[in-house]
């Protein structure tokens, strides 16, 4: 177990180097001198910001020196200063946005798994009935629905037509002075639609995956044994089969993280939620390069950490790996 852990963590090093290399090359995509090009496309940037950028990326030095000085900055959690008029450090900007995005995504993830597991099991246990077919149709439609369109439909239905849910932001104006109960209720109301949209994206895929994992497990010998012992179908499915069917889902958890983080750009922008995705979108629109590059690196590192956590969960959940030679 310890050897596995050390190996797994050592594996991160080449990945991290790769991430910095790719991010670094994105900056140099702009044809010609990056600074000139960037300033030409963003005329609002003054001379001072230009000098800051040149200094930060060491653009007057050779390419390899540029790379190492930039990595040095990143390693010290220095992502440069924003181009926006406040000129604040990018790290501070991300720090105040990150908790919103992470907590939204965690809630969405819990909801996804909480719904996908029973739906998948239901489809697997009622295989080839109308229920299974109905779930399959839902899954295919779910795959094909653009999340931003779903957000628009929800906004129209709940926000405009019924008028029962707020369509933007996290709080009603002036809610700071309300009591805790009313404040939280207001927050929850603002969160319903964004979380629905965020979790819908992978719900379809997850439940389909759960269905096939379950079907796979149910066909194995030990399940026949459990049935032969006279255990009720409920115990067989929910106690014996479920544990093994859940294993592949943990790997999927790791895979779904980049999608979730990437998707936050869309729903945070639509619902005007002050998270990292919205910051990124604003950065892209105002060509605020330090912010864009900073979030790109942070997003990749978050994915890396998410994958690591998923792998560790897998090891903890599967005794065959835990007690294996690893």
């Amino acid at each position: 177990m310890t050897t596995y852990l050390i190996k797994r963590i050592l594996m991160l090093i080449p990945l991290m180097i790769g991430i910095t290399l790719i991010t670094f090359s994105v900056i140099h995509l702009a044809p010609g001198e990056p600074v000139e090009m960037q300033m030409a496309m963003n005329p609002k940037v003054g001379k001072e910001a230009r000098e800051r950028l040149t200094k930060f990326y060491g653009l007057d030095k050779p390419l390899h020196e540029q790379y190492f000085s930039w990595v040095g900055h990143i390693a010290r959690f220095d992502l440069g200063r924003s181009f926006s008029s406040d000129g604040r450090p990018v790290v501070d900007k991300i720090k105040e946005r990150l908790p919103v995005t992470i907590s939204l995504n965690v809630i969405a993830l819990l909801l996804e798994f909480g719904l996908a597991i029973p739906i998948g099991i239901l489809a697997a246990t009622s295989r080839d009935t109308w229920l299974d077919k109905g779930i399959t149709v839902f899954v295919f439609v779910g795959f094909a629905v653009p999340t931003f369109w779903l957000a628009l439909l929800l906004m129209y239905f709940f926000g405009v037509k019924l008028g029962c849910l707020p369509i933007s932001g996290l709080h009603t104006l002036g809610s700071d002075s309300w009591g805790t109960g009313r404040y939280l209720c207001d927050l929850a109301k603002h969160l319903i639609m964004p979380i629905m949209v965020a979790s819908f994206g992978s719900l379809a895929g997850l439940s389909r995956y759960m269905r096939s994992a379950m079907l796979n497990v149910v066909s194995q010998d030990y399940i026949t044994t459990a049935r032969a012992k006279g255990l009720s179908e409920r115990v067989v499915i929910w106690k014996h089969a479920l544990r093994n069917a859940l294993l592949p889902l943990i790997t999927l958890l790791g895979f779904s993280i980049p999608g979730l983080i990437g998707g936050s750009v869309i729903f945070e922008t639509i619902f005007a939620i002050p998270g990292m995705g919205q910051l990124f979108y604003q950065g892209v629109m105002s060509r605020d390069y330090p912010v864009v590059m900073g979030i790109l690196v942070i997003g990749a590192f978050l994915t890396l950490i998410g994958n690591l956590v998923a792998d560790l969960c897998y090891v903890l959940a599967d005794p065959r790996i835990r007690h294996g030679e690893g």
Partner: protein, 284 residues
């Protein structure tokens, strides 16, 4: 070549013909081709003709899908929008499949250091939330449909690379590869003439599904205002005005979204159908 024809007619075609959903998907895919080719003929109006007397008109017999904030006919815009989607889908996936296939072939065939390096590169690329990477790259370039297609392609080849690599690993141990080597075939001839044709089927499936993904990504980008720029109509940028006028004009949001839904659904159904038809484990 002869063998492939018999395989196609005796196994693949009978199988996929019985899969009604896949046929349905395939039919719609073909219909979309026809629509985008014939858009100028079937569109009832010029998609960029502004009509100040019919601003934000709800669906009527005259304008089936209503009109937008400039009085342009939404049906015509949706029909023309299919051109953008189709172009993006095919070009982006073409790029992704070409890169992925070459990387997968080389990686699986040569193994060793080359393989490790290429597969680490795949791992690194998979660390980036694809949407972030696309947005970041597009920030540095002027928005244009060509950049979008290239960038979607450049960020979407990893899955194909893994598939082709796995396939190559097993094919390279076959006797006919040994035979090819014995008669002195060059590596590139073995790779592209002997291994590639036999590794094509998983690529076909992921390409079909990939087109659906690329269409979704393009529409999201255009919706955010970073993709296809107005006045060129694309399903995503019609939805942008749908969002701005959500309180008055539901038809601006409903119809382009339905177009995306139906298109993506058809490609997915077709892809799944091809997968089932190619899968030897699925009983006939």
């Amino acid at each position: 070549m002869d063998f492939k024809h018999t395989y196609f007619y005796s196994i693949f075609w009978p199988r996929i013909r019985r899969n009604r959903l896949a046929l349905c998907g395939g039919g719609i895919v073909v219909a979309l081709f026809v629509i985008s080719l014939l858009a100028p003929v079937i569109a009832p109006f010029d998609p960029s003709a502004i009509n100040a007397y019919a601003v934000l008109s709800p669906p009527t017999w005259h304008h089936w899908f209503g009109t937008d904030e400039l009085g342009r006919d939404v049906l015509s815009r949706v029909l023309y929008g299919s051109r953008v989607s189709l172009k993006v889908g095919f070009v982006a996936v073409g790029i992704a499949v070409s890169i992925g296939t070459v990387v997968g072939l080389v990686s699986g065939y040569f193994s060793g250091l080359v393989d490790t390096a290429l597969m680490r590169a795949v791992d690194v690329m998979l660390c980036f939330p694809a949407f972030f990477l696309i947005l970041a790259i597009i920030t540095f370039l002027e928005p244009s449909i060509w950049y979008i297609m290239i960038v979607i392609g450049l960020t979407g080849w990893m899955g194909v690379a893994r598939l082709v690599r796995a396939e190559t690993l097993s094919i390279r141990e076959m006797d006919y590869i040994l035979a090819a080597r014995c008669i002195g075939c060059s590596n590139s001839r073995i790779l592209f003439r002997h291994i590639l044709p036999n590794a094509v089927s998983p690529v076909l499936v992921s390409a079909t599904l990939g087109i659906a993904g690329a269409i979704l990504t393009e529409s999201a980008l255009s919706f955010l205002g970073i993709g296809v720029q107005p006045p060129t109509p694309s399903w995503g940028n019609i939805l942008t005005s749908g969002k701005d006028y959500i309180e008055f004009a539901w038809w601006l949001s409903l119809f382009p979204g339905l177009a995306i839904l139906v298109t993506v659904l058809s490609y997915n159904l077709l892809g799944e159908g091809i997968r089932d038809a190619l899968d030897p484990r699925v009983k006939r």
